[in-house]
Symmetry: C3
Subunit: 453 residues, 3 copies
Amino acid sequence: MNDGRSLQERLVTTDIGEAIFAFASEIYPICRSITGHGVRRTLDAIANHIELEIREVPTGTAVFDWVIPREWNIRDGYIKNQQGEKVVDFAQSNLHVMSYSVPVRQRMSLTELKKHVYTLPDQPDLIPYRTSYYNDNWAFCMPHRLLESLPDETYEVVIDSSLTDGHLTYGEYLHRGETEDEVLLSAHICHPSLANDNCSGVALLTLLAKRMAGLRTRYSYRFLFAPGTIGAITWLACNEENSRRIKHGLVVSMVGDAGGPTYKKSRRGDAKIDRAVVHAIRHCGLTPTILEFLPWGYDERQYCSPGFNLPVGLFQRSMFGAAAEYHTSADNLDFIAPNHLAMSYGLIAEALDIVESDAVYCNTMPKCEPQLGRRGLYGAVGGDKDAVSANMAMLCILNFSDGTHSLLDIAERANLPYPVIRRTAQRLQQCGLLTQSGDAPALSGAAKVSAGF
Amino acid sequence: MNDGRSLQERLVTTDIGEAIFAFASEIYPICRSITGHGVRRTLDAIANHIELEIREVPTGTAVFDWVIPREWNIRDGYIKNQQGEKVVDFAQSNLHVMSYSVPVRQRMSLTELKKHVYTLPDQPDLIPYRTSYYNDNWAFCMPHRLLESLPDETYEVVIDSSLTDGHLTYGEYLHRGETEDEVLLSAHICHPSLANDNCSGVALLTLLAKRMAGLRTRYSYRFLFAPGTIGAITWLACNEENSRRIKHGLVVSMVGDAGGPTYKKSRRGDAKIDRAVVHAIRHCGLTPTILEFLPWGYDERQYCSPGFNLPVGLFQRSMFGAAAEYHTSADNLDFIAPNHLAMSYGLIAEALDIVESDAVYCNTMPKCEPQLGRRGLYGAVGGDKDAVSANMAMLCILNFSDGTHSLLDIAERANLPYPVIRRTAQRLQQCGLLTQSGDAPALSGAAKVSAGF
Amino acid sequence: MNDGRSLQERLVTTDIGEAIFAFASEIYPICRSITGHGVRRTLDAIANHIELEIREVPTGTAVFDWVIPREWNIRDGYIKNQQGEKVVDFAQSNLHVMSYSVPVRQRMSLTELKKHVYTLPDQPDLIPYRTSYYNDNWAFCMPHRLLESLPDETYEVVIDSSLTDGHLTYGEYLHRGETEDEVLLSAHICHPSLANDNCSGVALLTLLAKRMAGLRTRYSYRFLFAPGTIGAITWLACNEENSRRIKHGLVVSMVGDAGGPTYKKSRRGDAKIDRAVVHAIRHCGLTPTILEFLPWGYDERQYCSPGFNLPVGLFQRSMFGAAAEYHTSADNLDFIAPNHLAMSYGLIAEALDIVESDAVYCNTMPKCEPQLGRRGLYGAVGGDKDAVSANMAMLCILNFSDGTHSLLDIAERANLPYPVIRRTAQRLQQCGLLTQSGDAPALSGAAKVSAGF
């Protein structure tokens, strides 16, 4: 923070939306599941950008109430009609085979086949996304119209998959800050070709980590890329002691569509990260949806389980499950866009900036207002209406900086954007009217703030 | 609770509305007041259903700031015109004579008579209900149209009543539960032929007590049938010490009309009974009216006086005094109906079920979610939208059962009906994922819950 | 309070609005600033009504972060065109010369002159009000239309002012009550011919002080007439120790227009004065605007600075800066009216009455309701709808007077006007049903309350 620019200003670049979109496009085709080579390929792609540490946990390892399952890999899958034509082909879309399908190679009637087919009758042109991680089963997913068009004949059904002892794989990257206190940023990497859920989240966090690598921060930032549920549980089981360092956190998923933004608060409900994200969203010009915590959604379910109760919220665009494209083949690269990704990135960066810099400062002249005019801080001619908004932030910071209100408190009280309050507090600190209190960070270094203040 | 069914399920029967209506119809014709034979006849009728204990407190007994008044009884009352025709006749409606009217036998002019007549000019066809318990006086109540039709002649006015030393009479029935902690259920029995106010309440509580008699409950339930105000004051004066056992309570009045439901909270405002009734009403599909406590209404005024401050609320359909039929001859048997009585009974039963079973339970596996799937508790195929609502209750109970949230807290937080939360908690307790904490009751006995779970 | 009348009843007279308007009109023409003879003339006018103590603080005196500035006086000011005609003349309106303008006597082109002219292009017929207290400068203020009509020629520009060592002048009046605890009532006296801002506030407080002079009160009342900002800061610097006596306070400004009423709460937000004014306004029949504290407005900025944090709110009609007439020549005597002034006076008087009399009383018969009927307090005939509202106040006072609720708490809970609660509490105290608790004042003296109760 030594150049006086906020973390948000230092993190955001003009091409960030395009960069996130490009990386999401790169990993979109990979067939991921909660284990297997698809996860490894995705982590390798991330490791091209940041110094990712990749962990492998063997099948059978107990992680709290769970056990690491067998590793699943798939090479091919199709349904051939009597003419030998592939009417459904895994090579066309990895959504066609239910994730964790056991191998099958069989001829069967349409009636028999239908017991192993999922469709969406209400969205008849889309392929649904289905999984069966802990129940040995197999199935194909296909458009409802396709199923209805299949003649009543015998089909050759092949799923060339394997379920064998292997590993669960996840990756993490730690950006070291001035303290060991951590901010957790987590994305799930277990979904196959679904662009928003969660190529968008994986790509956003990868680019955020890459951009942050060159920056000095107060907190250490832990970026976790792990399969949903079992991956988060595994990380928590392996890091139970370390998890106490997590002071703030966000689960990031589905951040590329045009909806929302949506924020689901941590189980605590009033954690600093909750207030920071809500504040950032409220000042973004969109209509946000703010939700209280419920244990329904993504890996915040594990981070916020009562035995951990970490201050971790969920940031999304469209609300979990609310978009028609959710968990279907319509969640493709057309569903996400660079401008939405850039907006999501910007909001997360602003929330992180608040978490980084928010603290309680103290007015050094608490009796009556200090004379701002002779310090060149105040519009000199009384009655000039243009000076009003510039002065409001100063007066609010001075009035409420009594040792009990943080900058975020003051921003909320004054209904002003946090960056305005933060910049103004920098200015007041430079003038000696505001001092740090307790463990508050310095708002600005030796360098002067820019003239554009 | 040992068969796994909720108290509400065990209390409600399909014919309950008809049964309450029939009993209300039976006691409707009786001329009740705050003392006298009408009260005794009503208590005798109740005693045909339950083992009622009837108390008699002598005239002149001091009860806090009050004194038991003389006992009032009435045999006849009429106004005869010069032709000797009864233009007003107590035998036609016991509302015609103001309650506690002193005896009178006199000839008088219309002008003189009018000083002792109450009518409702705005509801000219109805007889008003009037009382004068503590002021020696007499009066007739009649339709305004009738009064206006009376020619200016001499009338023979007779009220054949008596005001003599006697007793105040009330009845109580104690259903003994597993503990001595009590739930108070109170109805006033001092109104003459008013069907909703309060034959409906008396009948509802009588049938509730009758139905409860065969059931095992956690709490003891005290059913009190007493004249309004002076009766409740008398009971409190006679049971000051015992009143401390009352942990929850409801005054039940006017529960047979089509309005409401209305609930006025106890003076405490956040008592368990307040939250239980509000929760039950909010999930009933009607538009409820929830009122903060004011010392205006029925006997909750006494139970919630500052010297007692008992957690007792008021359950009604139309709000106190809000219906046009209130305290008039239009409050007859046409004003109440079995379906409304059944709905009121069901809501009260559900509130009592909450009070009975609500407690704090503890998740035995608080670190991350337990693996519900391998216990057969979770929809096996990820993405199946039908499994969503069934799973939400489980996840919420597990997440919030951290030793600080009760089942009712969780129902409110998850915005799910308490019975769903309760049944789901039973299931989780059977699986060993939930344990009792402190004095929480077992949610289910040895018997399995039904397959229809 | 010994005659049983409330402070509000004793303060308000039928002609109060006319009297305030007359005094506002008297002081309106004076050219005031933060120092100088205009302030002295205004204080002299106030001193004709009350025993005002006038203080003079020398130029150069340090008051916290500020220094008393040089004293400014002005004799004349004009702009003459080439024909020698005064196109702008201070004698016509003292708004024409920016307050604290340094002396000038010069010939200059229109282009040069324009650098020293303020207008309001959006309100082209009005003269703006401008000041430059702490920046040596000079300027004329004029209607935008006038500026646009000036031909491009040479003008003679004269401001015959002086800026010399002198004094800052303010006045205060202390009405001594039964205790040394004080209520601060403060108005700024630094604006020239602006009728609402703040001749109205100065006049209202002068007449309030005059009317109060003959009355016995519980609190002492300090009336402060001082220049805005520097005057309040000076008073606080000179009275830092004494300021601790201030238990309640109001800044009174712009109280004569038809808008509002508006109340901005003290920094504490829940001070008694905040609740008192809000209650009074809510029951006045107008639509009030209630604002949370922000350090933007009048001298509450100083009283509520964190080093003092006094319980002082701001009472206004139109909200600060919201009226189009604000700080323009349209804020003249046509903008204010006796009826608005009377309404403001009445609301302030009612709030002061609440502050004077509000206290916790105790029900002497807390177990069940006392029998109001035999004390003649209760409508004798049950069912008489007219008795309802009269009884509600009694029952609420008795129920909530448990040692934790003050009369104002009860008025808010019962949603009844404080005067009704206060009068009813007097009655109950006379009957022995209510006793004082702690330092509560007697609600009534020996004299009976009037029959009109």
